[in-house]
């Protein structure tokens, strides 16, 4: 007997009988409340929307204050210095990455249905979206004050912000127990570096280097999700230690 015949015969012998009384069985368990015993739970979107309310007020206050400050600085003296203020916006994002660990909530959040990953991603999403939208608005508002094109103002604003966010996310992945001071220092150093850069690179804000800014923007914008993904993938060990 070849294997194909054997398989056919085994299949015929092991044929499951037709279900009898299936409908009656389901009616009975439904009547007894045994189906869907677990309470209804919220969807991923409802959860993510709810996390907006749990972002600390100072994060929003800092974002609003910085966006107003950048707008005012650009209008008053439309030079390159105001662009160096955007790294401070990253402090709000970075504060969210280590918050659960700092306040020892990580373990409980990890064991809950939506888990720590969802909590962190939802918060990062909200702060990131609000900051980026705010910066876009500022770019549109201050663009007439500059002789640069819209795309150049956008790049000069976004690159320092994303640089600080990317460096800070790498730092937060490795160091979590310093109450975020390391990330604040990274924002400060990024700001200082971009403020001092024209003194060392004279043509940094010239049109011919727009390609360099665009390359930096793509690198940072592409690197930041990767860095967050690496960090999320290694979420197990942080909880332990």
């Amino acid at each position: 007997m070849n294997s194909e015949m054997m398989r056919t015969q085994i299949r015929a012998l092991c044929q499951a009988p037709r279900p009898e009384g299936k409908e009656a069985f389901f009616r009975k368990v439904k009547a007894q409340g045994l189906l869907h015993r677990r309470p209804r739970t919220i969807s991923q979107w409802e959860f993510a929307a709810g996390q907006f309310l749990y972002i600390e007020k100072w994060v929003w206050a800092l974002s609003v204050l910085l966006l107003l400050l950048i707008t005012a600085a650009c209008r008053r003296s439309p030079g390159n210095e105001p662009f160096a203020l955007t790294p401070f916006l990253a402090a709000g994002i970075l504060a969210q990455t280590g918050r659960s660990f700092r306040w020892k909530m990580a373990e409980m959040e990890h064991a809950a249905r939506f888990s720590l990953r969802s909590v962190l991603l939802a918060r990062l999403f909200w702060v990131g979206v609000v900051n980026t939208a705010g910066l876009m608005l500022v770019v549109l508002l201050v663009r007439p004050c500059f002789s640069y094109s819209l795309i150049r103002v956008f790049l000069y604003m976004m690159v320092p912000y994303l640089t600080a966010a990317w460096l800070g996310s790498v730092y937060e992945r490795k160091q979590r127990a310093d109450h975020g001071w390391g990330s604040v220092l990274i924002c400060l150093l990024s700001s200082a570096a971009f403020a001092a850069a024209p003194a060392f690179l004279a043509g940094l804000y010239e049109e011919r280097l727009t390609v360099l800014w665009a390359a930096l923007f793509i690198t940072m914008a592409g690197g930041l999700p990767g860095s967050i993904r690496n960090w999320i993938a290694r979420m197990e060990e942080p909880v332990w230690n």
Partner: protein, 232 residues
């Protein structure tokens, strides 16, 4: 429902925290005893899916413990936990309800019920930072019960509770253990004496004894010490 661990181990660099444990937990209260550093907390984290075992597997009712479905039926009280500084006791429970996926209306109802149950009603709207150690522990117990868990894992739940609170807690756990899997770790033997249906004794990452416990048949403390010493 059964929670089954199949030859699970957890190794940290040169230390084996949990060494090839296999067991099945069924409905009822299981007490996990062991001295400090025996591997109780690591085992509990493995059972909650917080840690991934170096080898072996943990499953509950056919679900892997890393899945959302399992976490949906899990209640966990860690040994050490904190709270966001702006939270009141009520905020804390509402927040944990959201992370556990409870709809707002259910979250409000469960929060009120549990605040009442753990005796925190008079201080529910006060900041958690003003709570005593025992109050924080009761809040932790309440959050573990928010989603009406089928699997309840509590690491040193009676730490910081005064004698009266401990008696109340024991009664609560005995009631909960009737129709769900409850695993408690402690090194206070008397906490388990009258409520544990099963016992597991750990030493240096290994299970040195596991079996049914019949309250009143023997002195648990003497039994525990004899089992720990047998292993020397």
């Amino acid at each position: 429902m059964e929670l089954t661990a199949d030859r699970i181990s957890k190794q940290y660099k040169n230390k084996i925290a949990v060494d090839r444990l296999s067991f099945t937990l069924t409905e009822g209260v299981t007490g996990l005893l062991g001295s400090n550093g025996a591997g109780k907390t690591t085992l509990m984290r493995l059972l909650c899916g917080i840690l991934v075992p170096t080898s072996g597997s943990v499953a509950c009712g056919g679900m892997d413990v890393c899945t959302e479905e399992y976490r949906d039926i899990l209640g966990y009280l860690p040994q050490e936990f904190g709270y966001y500084p702006e939270f009141t006791g009520r905020d804390f429970l509402l927040y944990m309800s959201a992370v556990k996926g409870l709809p707002r209306r259910d979250a409000l109802r469960r929060t009120e019920e549990l605040i009442e149950l753990v005796g925190l009603k008079p201080v529910a709207r006060k900041k958690v930072r003003t709570y005593s150690g025992g109050m924080k522990q009761r809040l932790g117990i309440a959050q573990a019960l928010l989603n009406d868990p089928q699997v309840l894992i509590m690491d040193e739940p009676t730490a910081g509770l005064d004698p009266q609170e401990r008696i109340r807690f024991r009664e609560l756990i005995a009631g909960l253990g009737k129709n769900r899997i409850v695993l408690l770790s402690t090194h206070i033997v008397s906490d388990l004496e009258h409520i544990a249906d099963q016992l597991m004794i750990m030493k240096e990452g290994r299970l040195v004894w596991q079996g049914k416990w019949h309250a009143g048949k023997e002195d648990l403390e003497a039994f525990y010490i004899s089992k720990i010493q047998d292993e020397r």
